[in-house]
Symmetry: C2
Subunit: 178 residues, 2 copies
């Protein structure tokens, strides 16, 4: 009887924890250091801000996409700066790999075409706007995850300084793709 | 009095036309030849399938993103083939331009980095699944628009033959990015 009661309590606790995670819009994984940000639930289904490509000299090529939650997308579409509290931007980084299949198809109409598609996930980064909580870093909290694992403190100390050159765009590098 | 009645009639007609366009999920622009597809309303807000890059030999470099309506995204996420009737995939193609601003920032931590972002819109293409209406082209209708203007008949005749090599993936080249 005691064992059953304990099991019920454990299940109830898990349900409550899951609900809290759901209600807070965060997953139940580890939080990134300094800013205490967890992976936002459902971010992969957010709308597209823009895409870009980066050749990290000697460190591989990447294709990247930035997604935004509803508040972020609305601000981008309206060109409203600064971004409102609650806006979140996700930047997904993938390896860039050649697509032999695409090249074969495209070589007909466009001889010599080179097509590259996304390979595996490298990491995902988040910017969370909270002008009070993150007042000392331009109103933004930053987080970097490889898989479910957040980067370390030293990595996260580099986020805000790196974003300072984009101060005129509320510290956001991405611009909304037409 | 007659003039007012005429004006009211005109306004009512416009409202009905706008409602029909809204209800059909299509914009009120021109339809692409052969398949009769108009630009789907609100497609820029659809969820992200994947991104890719293409170097069209001598014809410029592009960054591309594929977006899907709810039916298409659900099918991609569940790996369900063939795609259900009503699924629509949008492929947005942009010019790829170097970002000097990004390069300056990234050159610190990653010397020699080359960053490329989207420039202007080149075109947008749609695949619309309707297994009965488009039975002779794998169940898909195809459309290509530059701005609001659909490409010509000759262009649209090339769509389905080009997609045949992707028959094993229901004629869709894009795969869902992780």
């Amino acid at each position: 009887m005691k064992r059953i009661a304990f099991l019920l309590l454990a299940v109830a606790s898990l349900a409550v924890a899951a609900y809290i995670a759901y209600a807070s819009g965060q997953s139940d994984g580890d939080a990134a250091p300094i800013y205490g940000i967890k992976i936002p639930a459902g971010y992969r289904n957010w709308q597209l801000i823009a895409v870009n490509q980066i050749l990290l000299a000697g460190k591989g090529d990447q294709l990247r996409a930035q997604l935004g939650n509803d508040l972020a997308i609305k601000a981008f579409q309206e060109g409203a700066l600064p971004f409102p509290d609650g806006a979140i931007i996700a930047a997904i980084h993938w390896t860039r790999v050649p697509s032999e299949a695409n090249n074969k198809v495209l070589d007909g109409p466009f001889p010599g075409t080179q097509s590259f598609v996304v390979g595996s996930r490298v990491n995902v980064q988040f910017m969370v706007k909270d002008s009070k909580k993150y007042a000392t870093s331009g109103g933004w909290g930053f987080a970097d995850f490889t898989g479910e694992k957040p980067g370390d403190k030293a990595l996260h100390e580099t986020c805000f300084p790196c974003h300072i050159p984009a101060k005129d765009h509320d510290y956001v590098f991405a611009h909304y793709a037409p």
